[in-house]
């Protein structure tokens, strides 16, 4: 057979078959690419560091300003982008296999909107206490609507997605309602957050997103084989000995927690969770969850770096950019796929 066994047993935990050497090379390549992108992002932008001062600052020999710029501004921001991007990519991939539907993603299912509605209302009424509680409450409210509103039927993806769309619309309305209640400056500030922004991130945010990732990642990797079996449909998965209900419940909770972490760290960034699993599906299928996480990180980091390249008087929140690029890209991808599948239509319009 054309695969080589990889001696580290952890790798084999997360795939049904032993990973091929190609899969492993691909994963290593993506990790190297991510590190390169991280370094590059530190160098770019109107506040970018020169390569020389980056090296100096990394080893503590730069000027105070450069030291501050690297350690208190650019590095936490870049790490937040990587962490939140990973969380979004993973969350989207888990939601997609949970619902077995390409629309399964925390932004479509109202998780992001629920978290931001919670956060905004909290900011309105209890501004003294951390925003985290508000977002957490919002997410808990969304989940309870799923469980209470749909009962056992939540496990059928059509129900979950339709309910999610309804909740999403309701949560967005709540947010807009809250915005009408506040002063103009505060509304401006809220809007910036609500479209997803990575400006002014601190090590506190890095700590938050990395602890969410560290907490959730091992369980998700253990779950990934079960999710692969679930893609055969609920009944066949059950027949193969996969406790389907348990798998779906755990997957929903973990993916929601990831989305919550990302929202707290970067705001409700659009489209990364939806697009990353689609991109991860190119090429080999193994380790799809990890690939989706890495692609999510690359996407968010890339988009954030792009916003830094814009003139400083036009601060574009990163979420606006991901929605712009992501929306267009997804439309293009789908169109191309459909056209490739339907040569008849192509011929007819061609003549």
């Amino acid at each position: 057979m054309n695969y080589t066994r990889f001696p580290i047993w952890q790798w084999r935990l997360i795939t049904l078959r032993a990973p091929t050497s190609r899969t492993i090379k691909g994963a290593l390549f993506a990790i190297i690419l991510l590190i390169a992108a991280l370094l590059l992002s530190l160098l770019l932008g109107h506040q970018g560091l020169s390569p020389m001062s980056l090296v100096k600052a990394l080893f503590g020999r730069a000027s105070d300003y450069e030291h501050w710029l690297l350690w208190q501004s650019r590095l936490p921001r870049a790490l937040c982008a990587v962490g939140a991007g990973m969380a979004l990519g993973l969350s989207g991939a888990v939601f997609q296999s949970l619902t077995r539907n390409p629309l399964g993603s925390p932004d479509i299912l109202g998780i992001n909107a629920g978290a931001s509605a919670g956060a905004v209302l909290w900011l309105l009424w209890l501004p003294a206490l951390p925003l985290l509680f508000g977002a957490l409450l919002g997410v808990v409210a969304v989940l309870s609507l799923f469980f209470v509103g749909l009962g056992r039927q939540w496990q059928f993806s059509r129900n979950l997605i339709l309910m999610g769309i309804a909740i999403n619309a309701f949560a967005i309305a709540l947010v807009q309602f809250a915005l009408t209640l506040v002063q103009r400056e505060q509304a401006q500030q809220m809007l910036g957050y609500l479209s997803g922004s990575l400006a002014h991130r601190t090590w506190y945010d890095v700590l938050l997103i990395s602890s969410v990732l560290l907490l959730v990642l091992p369980s998700i990797l253990l779950l990934s084989r079960r999710l692969a079996i679930l893609s055969l449909g609920r009944e066949l998965a059950q027949a193969l000995g996969n406790p389907v209900r348990q798998t779906q419940t755990v997957a929903l909770l973990l993916a929601t927690l990831l989305a919550l972490g990302a929202v707290l760290c970067a705001g409700p960034v659009a489209f990364v969770a939806l697009v990353a699993p689609h991109l991860a599906r190119f090429g080999h299928r193994q380790l799809a969850l990890l690939r989706s996480a890495l692609i999510g990180a690359l996407l968010l980091l890339g988009a954030d770096t792009l916003t830094l390249l814009l003139p400083s008087n036009q601060r574009l929140p990163v979420g606006v950019l991901t929605a712009l690029i992501g929306g267009l890209y997804l439309a293009l991808l789908l169109t191309r796929e459909l056209w490739a599948q339907a040569p008849l239509i192509k011929n007819r319009t061609g003549k």
């Binding site: 027949a239 000995g241 599906r281």
Partner: protein
């Protein structure tokens, strides 16, 4: 319940089985036995609960009342994976994951043999290769399943349940949507599996195929088991009328020398005459 078989010969049995979907009763107070090492066929009209019975016997839909016994072990005492190592179920229309290739799909049959501590092993690899070989799919191993023909796809699903290496296989309409050659190939293969000592339970629609290939027939109607036994002794015209609502005569299959049924000709002309003045149908013939 009176059984045709002694306890040693029973692979699977249901005792007082009942299954409800919400308020609807699909299976009602059913006792049945599946003989070991034989090919059993479940027959019955559409919607009589055949597929549900297979799901119930494999605990994919656990019965709401009664219990299933695997030999002498109650099925509820086995955990999910242990159950899936004894009993494989191939449902009628399985979902095909997007972009999956043949080898990967067949590998999923090994899931119940794996655990946190027992990862992909030589044994798994061997089981998958054997299943691919037996179904003649080795040369297609790297091909996406979606590109294969209907008959080939059904072979892939069969290979997946074979890789599960269970003693008992439950197959729900494995011949549906296949051309006659592919149908016979599936049935011949099932027969060969039984000859090796495995127990197979098939849901079939073609009564004559059931009579030719089945060694034990179970006839169902409205969620109840109407009759069971060997094809040679079981069938009579009254039973066909009762279970399927058809008028057919039973003759001897000249090839296999087993019984076969020939539906009697219905007098179409009498329909036309009575429908001619039927205003409700607007002149169309009535269904029954």
């Amino acid at each position: 319940m009176m059984s045709l078989y002694t306890d040693d010969d029973i692979a699977l049995s249901g005792h007082d089985l009942a299954l409800k979907y919400g308020q609807r009763t699909i299976i009602n107070a059913m006792d049945l036995t599946i003989p070991k090492g034989k090919l059993s066929v479940i027959l019955g009209p559409n919607g009589c609960g055949k597929s549900t019975l297979l799901k119930c016997l494999s605990h994919v839909l656990p019965p709401t009342r009664g219990h299933v016994m695997l030999g002498e072990t109650p099925l509820v005492t086995l955990n999910n994976k242990a159950r899936a190592r004894e009993l494989a179920l191939l449902i009628q229309k399985p979902e095909l994951p997007e972009g999956i290739d043949v080898q990967e799909l067949v590998s999923r049959g090994r899931y119940p043999h794996q655990s946190l501590w027992r990862q992909w092993s030589e044994q798994d690899e061997k089981a998958v290769n054997q299943a691919l070989n037996a179904t003649g799919l080795t040369h297609l191993a790297q091909r996406p399943v979606a590109e294969l023909s209907g008959g080939q796809q059904q072979r892939v699903w069969l290979a997946m349940v074979l890789a599960q290496q269970t003693e008992v296989l439950l197959l729900d309409e494995p011949t549906s949507f296949l051309d006659i050659r592919a149908q016979l190939a599936v049935l011949d293969f099932c027969q060969a599996l039984v000859a090796q000592g495995r127990t197979l339970v098939l849901v079939l629609h073609d009564i004559n195929q059931a009579l030719r290939y089945g060694e034990h027939l179970l006839l169902m109607r409205d969620g109840k088991l109407i009759a069971h036994g060997s094809p040679q002794t079981l069938l009579n015209e009254a039973l066909l009328e009762q279970v399927f609502g058809i008028n057919a005569s039973i003759i001897t299959d000249p090839e296999a020398l087993c019984p076969m049924i020939i539906p009697r000709v219905r007098m179409a002309s009498s329909y036309h005459r009575s429908d001619e003045h039927n205003e409700v149908n607007g002149g169309l013939p009535s269904w029954e």
